[in-house]
């Protein structure tokens, strides 16, 4: 383990990004994330991959300043216009985040991958870790889930155009707007929902905080056609792993439909923020998010008391 008094968030808490204090007023937030295509359109993929990478900075309570492209592309075999479109989508999101592109690095690779290395800043006293859930907290989720299932359904060509569009726009939406509203509230802990799914990241928060967290399954917003796609057999392999990994730390207070359980475990790309704050503030936060365009926001859970870290489903 790294030892340095200025290292505020390092590897050990499985948090979203690293945080390093530069002065009493300023800390550096650093993160890198790159992914394989989740939609067919290269411009949309660029937007989604960039939003996904920028999200880690927002989840720490920070503000992105600079970004660098990370690219793997079969440059000799594939049309360069595809790469241009990916980078155009990415740059658009970097600018929307108020950050600037400094450069990047590319590698020839048979499989396309794209993402960003992002540097941001945060006040050292206002870092939002994932491990400070407290008694009386409720949890607010800011985006609907199901992007892993829908990305698989899109690959299979088994989803309507409307559902594909909504999944694409959900993934391409920056967590910036949700984060800016969140920062006005007394938030105890925050993370963003990505590869481990809602179940996995909630469990991570529960274990790191030493709490039992109850998820209200019916309250979790789902993208359209997700349930149908899971019943068709379109759950990605990673989501199965999530489900099996979490299984032993889950208590079903009321029985949950196995298909719904799979969606809770579904690996997300560029998912929403999961925010832990006092219950009455959580209700206000969800309402304000909704009224200001973060339409997928909902109160989805509650801290139930100290434990080694358990998820209850009700």
């Amino acid at each position: 383990m790294e030892e340095d008094p200025n290292l505020l968030v390092g590897r050990e808490t499985s948090d979203d990004a690293g945080v390093y204090r530069l002065s009493d007023e300023l800390a550096l937030v650093q993160t890198i994330d790159f992914i394989t295509p989740v939609v067919n359109d290269p411009y949309d993929f660029g937007r989604i991959a960039a939003a996904n990478a920028l999200s880690d900075v927002y989840a720490m309570g920070g503000r992105p300043l600079t970004a660098m492209n990370v690219v793997c592309f079969p440059i000799r075999k594939m049309d360069k216009d595809i790469l241009r479109e990916i980078l155009r989508g990415g740059l658009e999101k970097i600018h929307e985040a108020g950050a600037v592109l400094l450069g990047g690095h590319s590698v020839e690779d048979p499989e396309i991958k794209y993402g960003l290395s992002v540097t941001g800043v945060v006040h050292p006293d206002r870092v939002l870790p994932n491990n400070r859930v407290e008694d009386g907290d409720s949890l607010v989720l800011t985006k609907p889930i199901g992007t892993g299932v829908l990305a698989t359904a899109i690959k299979a060509g088994l989803v309507s155009e409307a559902a594909e569009r909504q999944a694409t726009e959900t993934m391409a939406t920056l967590n910036r707007y949700a984060a800016e509203i969140m920062l006005k509230y007394p938030v105890h802990a925050c993370t963003d929902i990505t590869g481990f799914g809602l179940l996995g990241h909630t469990l991570e928060m529960a274990v790191a905080s030493g709490y039992t967290i109850r998820l209200f399954v019916e309250e979790v917003p789902l993208l359209p056609e997700v349930l149908d796609s899971v019943q068709m057999g379109l759950l990605p392999g990673g989501s199965f792993s999530n489900r099996n990994y979490c299984a032993h730390q889950i208590l079903q207070v009321t029985p949950v439909d196995p298909m719904l359980m799979d969606i809770l475990a579904d690996a997300q790309t560029s998912g929403g923020l999961l925010i832990s704050l006092p219950e009455d503030c959580a209700v206000d936060l969800a309402a304000e998010l909704k009224s200001r365009g973060v339409t997928g926001a909902a109160v989805v859970g509650r801290a139930m008391g100290r434990s080694r870290g358990v998820i209850e489903l009700a």
Partner: protein, 202 residues
Amino acid sequence: MGQETLDCRGLACPNPVLRTKALIEKGDTDRVTVLVDNAAAGENVSRFLGRTGYSVEILDMDGVFHVVGLRKESTETVHIPSQDTKISVENKIAVMVATDRMGRGDDVLGSKLMFNFIETLKEMGQELWRLVLVNAGVKLAVEGSESLPALIGLEREGVTILVCGTCLNHFNLLERKKIGETTNMLDIVTALQLADKVISLS
């Protein structure tokens, strides 16, 4: 009347489902066997076939999953290869546990043995059908019980856990039950009657 086998080993999701879909959309396939090499693909193909009007069994043979779908109106029966088949649903075993300790002699030892027993029950595999908890056995299913994770695991594997409501009430544990269906004596008697084999621990 067709019978088809599809080798989808080495394919990642959603490809096994797509290949299966393409095959049965050609029509006339009463019985389809899809080979996949990972549990996720097996579950996905099984769901797809289940939804498309097939009854499905998954056979795990040395890491190759044979997903066998039989069109429901068809009269053919699924032939299950013997020996190396891990999944068979011919025998239904009901285990009734009427104590939170195993045996008499030393209570601390008895609790540990019971913990071990519940942990190890999964080795019965698919034949384990119901677990009935009565009298002090219900204490295994309440919050704080060390056996909860194992019970959760069993329930996920499809074992129905019946917890005696009268007993929970007697110990004042109704509110603290964490797993299983709270049930009555009629359900318990019916479960014991329908089981092919009953193992009782008291």
